[in-house]
């Protein structure tokens, strides 16, 4: 147990000296000789005290009378239902809402730590305009009026001089995304960046090509066999799904985990396969080969509900387990056995579609193989198999009237569709967008509007992103903290945290849920709904924001539901009318698919027409040069991406990100745990600390993303650990636009 004091925190002062800024120091009496003597004497046998006789417990006692406010977590994107306990205008505890299907009454460490996001002493407090050079850390405090007037005038100037396409908009998955998109479409820019191409483009596009939907759901309740391809659910926590996986394992489901690292999920799995990076495709192609070769597929399903079986069969004929073993370093017998076990357990079995699958340039093919593997065993809408996706989060809700959007004729800077014909508009190719700002090609971007996103940490090659910033005349960032991106911006606007604001409503399962202010916004922070409306009006786009305020927006959304805002605030959730909810759709097993053929496409005409392979095909990943390592990345349970490193409760749990390295290569380099090491790629080099561990392949090293902040506005996270964005190179898959995040190789030397 560590007892390291945290001077950074204890030195902070807070207006009401609330925890953790405890200042009360108990006056200590001098310990007398009599007391000391007692310790060495035999203690008489004292009878147990009854509750009445026992002294009252005088430790910290949270209030017993308090208000409970229902809201939604935003410590990650899973959006669990929260019951916030409030006393005298202060939140003192967050609990999981038992009625919310994503929480099931529990919150993960990040959700539990939400109050340290709300009460972070480093929070942005008021609008700031840059006073010195970019990244110099000199700011001028301004009023919201002045800040919004200034932002609007710069945006109008850019639109007038260069056209609306010169302004880039980017954000990350959030409940107010519809209004953010409303702003950029009304403004008229085609340039929209999201995190998606750094995350799951390969998975989504492969499912669109195979099933005509973005991501099939999984039924853990009766699954007997689960194959996880790098999906580290025990550390990359998706609360309810993580709970479901633990329960499935406890029930006896077999879980096969492919990962070059012995993650905590690997530790819980029935079988861990330390696969060679970039070769998961070979493993899955061999499973397909085995299942077809030995006629273990679901013949009825394949015949009635799929197209392209014969073509698939001949395409995979060479992908034998022996062939795969030579690629992925998993014994052929194991591959053969897993194929048999999986097919026998089907339809109560699934190969997980995974999530952040942007690992190698061949990841789209890997994801296609996984989608096809599921189709072959006929697990669609079967107990323990894959289930159809639900509706959108705004489905069935009232809408706010608005005029049509202006026509956009300019090319998108991210190359969709002119360079990436199959990448859906909403996914985009964020790395390409950044590179084209830098190149000024096909035209020069001039401004960037960034909302709740941190591209300076998330995009590979931070150096390039900073250079791209230097090409721009104007950068505005809206966030709750002075993250690295805000630090390099011209204007920074403070948003209210999720515990202080309304957001558009969320439909989950068969109910609508509300995010509402648990406490009033602190400092001068404002909700996004307010910011976008105020900005829209100043841009002459008021017609696109026809709501009085946040409550009015929600009332309009609630109109078709027969529940008032006041009732919903009290209840936290309300059942959606039957037939309109996401769950209503799930209940009907889909036996037609939203693909050109209306069937599951084992061979895809869309891919063929775009001159891509219609069936999954082996693509050799680049080998790591001698003496170099694949640089792996992946989450820890205690942090969310690039957002939580300054949260004092989570910083206390995981303060930095040492470099994992296997003992053999460490020994060769004279490296021991705790030693400083240089990690270098063609993209840059960082000095970090080594963690020598058996839990990783000898040809890989690993570091947790999100650390190595350069913003001095984050007192705990500043320079804690290093950033993988300083090392990652940009590799873009031409089919899905995915960034291949594990394709960068690095050298490691003792510092």
């Amino acid at each position: 147990m560590s007892s390291t004091p945290h001077p950074e925190i204890s030195a902070q002062s807070s207006p009401d000296s609330a925890w953790p800024y405890i200042t009360r120091r108990r006056f200590l009496g001098v310990m007398g000789g009599a007391a000391t003597a007692l310790i060495f004497s035999q203690k008489p046998d004292i009878p147990l005290l009854t509750s009445e006789m026992a002294p009252a417990y005088e430790g910290h006692r949270p209030p017993t009378q308090y208000e409970v406010v229902h809201t939604l977590c935003e410590q990650c994107v899973w959006r669990c239902g929260v019951r916030a306990k409030v006393k005298d205008g202060r939140v003192f505890k967050l609990d999981g809402n038992p009625h919310h299907p994503h929480a099931k009454g529990k919150l993960c460490p990040r959700g539990q730590a939400g109050i340290a996001t709300l009460y972070d002493p480093d929070r942005l407090q008021y609008p700031l305009i840059r006073a010195g050079e970019r990244g110099g850390g000199k700011w001028k405090r301004v009023s919201w009026e002045d800040a919004l007037d200034y932002v609007a005038s710069r945006m109008l100037e850019i639109k007038e001089k260069y056209g609306p396409e010169a302004m880039i908009f980017s954000t990350t998955h959030n409940l107010i995304q519809t209004q953010f998109e409303n702003l950029l479409k009304a403004y008229g820019s085609p340039n929209y960046g999201t995190q998606r191409s750094l995350c799951f483009n390969a998975m989504i596009l492969s499912n669109l090509m195979t099933y005509g939907l973005e991501e099939p759901g999984r039924d853990y309740s009766s699954a007997q066999y689960i194959i996880l391809t790098g999906r580290n659910l025990m550390e990359a926590i998706s609360n309810s799904e993580t709970q479901d996986l633990v329960a499935a394992i406890a029930r006896g489901a077999k879980v096969v985990m492919l990962d070059p690292r012995f993650t905590k999920t690997a530790a819980k799995a029935s079988e861990w396969l330390p696969i060679k990076p970039g070769t998961d495709l070979a493993f899955h192609l061999a499973l397909i080969h085995e299942i077809i070769e030995n006629e273990m597929y679901d013949e009825e399903f394949v015949q009635n509900y799929t197209v392209g079986f014969d073509e698939l069969k001949s395409a995979v004929s060479g992908y034998t387990p022996e062939w795969a073993a030579s690629k992925c370093e998993i014994p052929a017998d194991a591959i053969r056995r897993i194929a048999r076990e999986f097919a026998l357990a089907a339809p109560h079995a699934f190969a997980h579609p995974n999530w952040r699958t942007s690992n190698f340039l061949n990841s789209f093919q890997t994801e296609r193989a996984i989608a096809i593997l599921n189709a072959l065993v006929g697990n669609w809408n079967q107990p323990g198999g894959l289930v159809g996706g639900g509706g959108g989060e705004g489905e069935g809700l009232g809408t706010i009237p608005q005029p049509p959007y202006p026509r956009v004729s300019a090319l998108r800077l991210d190359g969709v569709p002119w360079k990436y014909p199959l990448v859906p508009f909403k996914l985009g190719v964020f790395q390409e967008l950044r590179d084209n700002i830098l190149r000024g090609d096909p035209y020069q971007a001039k401004g960037w509007f960034i909302y709740r996103q941190n591209p300076l940490n998330s995009l590979p090659e931070r150096r390039k992103t900073i250079e791209a910033f230097s090409k721009l005349e104007f950068i505005v960032t809206i966030d709750i903290s002075m993250n690295d991106t805000a630090w390099f911006s011209d204007v920074v606007l403070p948003e209210a945290t999720y515990l202080e604001r309304y957001d558009p409503l969320a439909v989950v399962g068969d109910s609508v849920f509300i995010r509402q202010p648990v406490v009033a916004p602190m400092y001068e922070s404002k909700p996004g709904l307010w910011i976008f409306k105020e900005l829209g009006e100043r841009l002459g786009l008021g017609d696109y924001f026809q709501y009085q305020d946040e409550e009015d927006y929600l009332r309009k959304q609630l109109e078709p539901l027969g529940v008032t805002l006041e009732e919903l605030k009290e209840l936290g959730h309300f059942p959606m009318p039957r037939g309109e909810s996401a769950a209503g759709e799930e209940e009907t097993p889909a036996l037609s698919w939203n693909t050109p053929s209306g069937k599951v496409e084992l061979a895809s005409e869309v891919l063929r027409n775009s001159e891509f392979p219609p069936t999954p095909i082996w693509e050799e990943p680049p080998a790591a040069p001698a003496d170099q390592f694949y640089l792996l990345t992946g989450k820890v349970a205690q942090h969310t991406q690039f957002a939580t490193q300054n949260n004092w409760l989570l910083h206390e749990r995981v303060p930095d990100n040492p470099l994992w390295i296997h003992p053999d290569p460490a020994r060769d380099r004279g490296i021991e745990s705790g030693d400083e090491v240089w990690v270098e790629s063609p993209g840059g080099r960082v000095k970090t600390v080594a963690l020598v561990t058996e839990r990783i392949r000898p040809d890989c090293v690993y570091m947790t993303p999100g650390f190595g902040k350069v913003s001095k506005g984050m007192s705990l996270a500043y320079r804690a650990g290093v950033s993988d964005s300083d090392l990652h190179l940009s590799f873009i898959d031409e089919i899905s636009g995915s960034q291949a995040l594990s394709q960068t190789t690095v050298t490691v030397t003792k510092a």
Binding site: M1, A54, C108
Partner: protein, 201 residues
């Protein structure tokens, strides 16, 4: 986080419910279900306003083997609220006391901060609160128990590894788990009578 394991693991005969004996609060932990996410630790820190740098619960790691033959087990732990607590025995002022329902608590007005209890505890469950000048530790969230709620760490356990209840009540979840499974405890040989029971794999 890596924590050194405190004490040997000893297979014991699970206690049988004794409805006549009154309440005995206890944890029954399924290490197989712990995913080491540390939600319990953060929940405890917030619930009990534990000073930064200290904690009242933790997760011990047991890592074995060499690549690729590895195993990694997690064991959530906190104060064992022993039936024969060494901390109580060494307390010179009687500040540490044991309640009828088995809770081992501290009367902070009587605690002089001598920290003998910290040395006596084989589980390293206690810490010195520098600001208040007293020793502190897990209370099984006594304030929540008194309000009819489970401890904060139990309520939020994502893996469902932490179970809590009255082992003298045969109908309780913990009594049923003890009746069905083999269990082990830490430092049984020290005779502390810990109230955290771990279910065997």
């Amino acid at each position: 986080m890596t924590t050194n394991l405190k004490g040997m693991l000893t297979h014991i005969e699970p206690p049988k419910p004794n409805p006549q004996a009154g309440r005995r609060w206890a944890f029954v932990i399924e290490p197989d279900r712990c995913i080491d996410c540390e939600a319990c630790m953060v929940a405890c820190s917030v619930e009990n306003q534990v000073p930064v740098g200290h904690h009242r619960n933790w997760i011990a790691h047991r890592e074995k083997g060499k690549f690729p033959y590895l195993s990694l087990h997690f064991e959530p732990e906190n104060c064992h609220h022993c039936s024969n607590p060494p901390c109580e025995m060494v307390c010179p002022t009687g500040a540490t006391f044991r309640r009828e329902d088995g809770l081992v608590l501290i009367n902070y007005d009587d605690c002089i901060g001598c920290r003998y209890c910290m040395m006596a505890c084989p589980y390293d469950a206690r810490y010195f609160d520098e600001d208040r000048g007293v020793v502190d530790k897990c209370t099984f969230c006594v304030h929540r128990l008194d309000a009819g709620q489970p401890p904060a760490c139990v309520e939020t356990c994502i893996g469902g590894a932490r179970h809590f209840g009255d082992i003298n009540d045969p109908e309780s979840e913990v009594a049923k788990l003890l009746a069905r499974h083999e269990v082990y405890v830490r430092y049984a040989e020290a005779g502390t009578g810990p109230a955290i029971f771990y279910i065997m794999d």
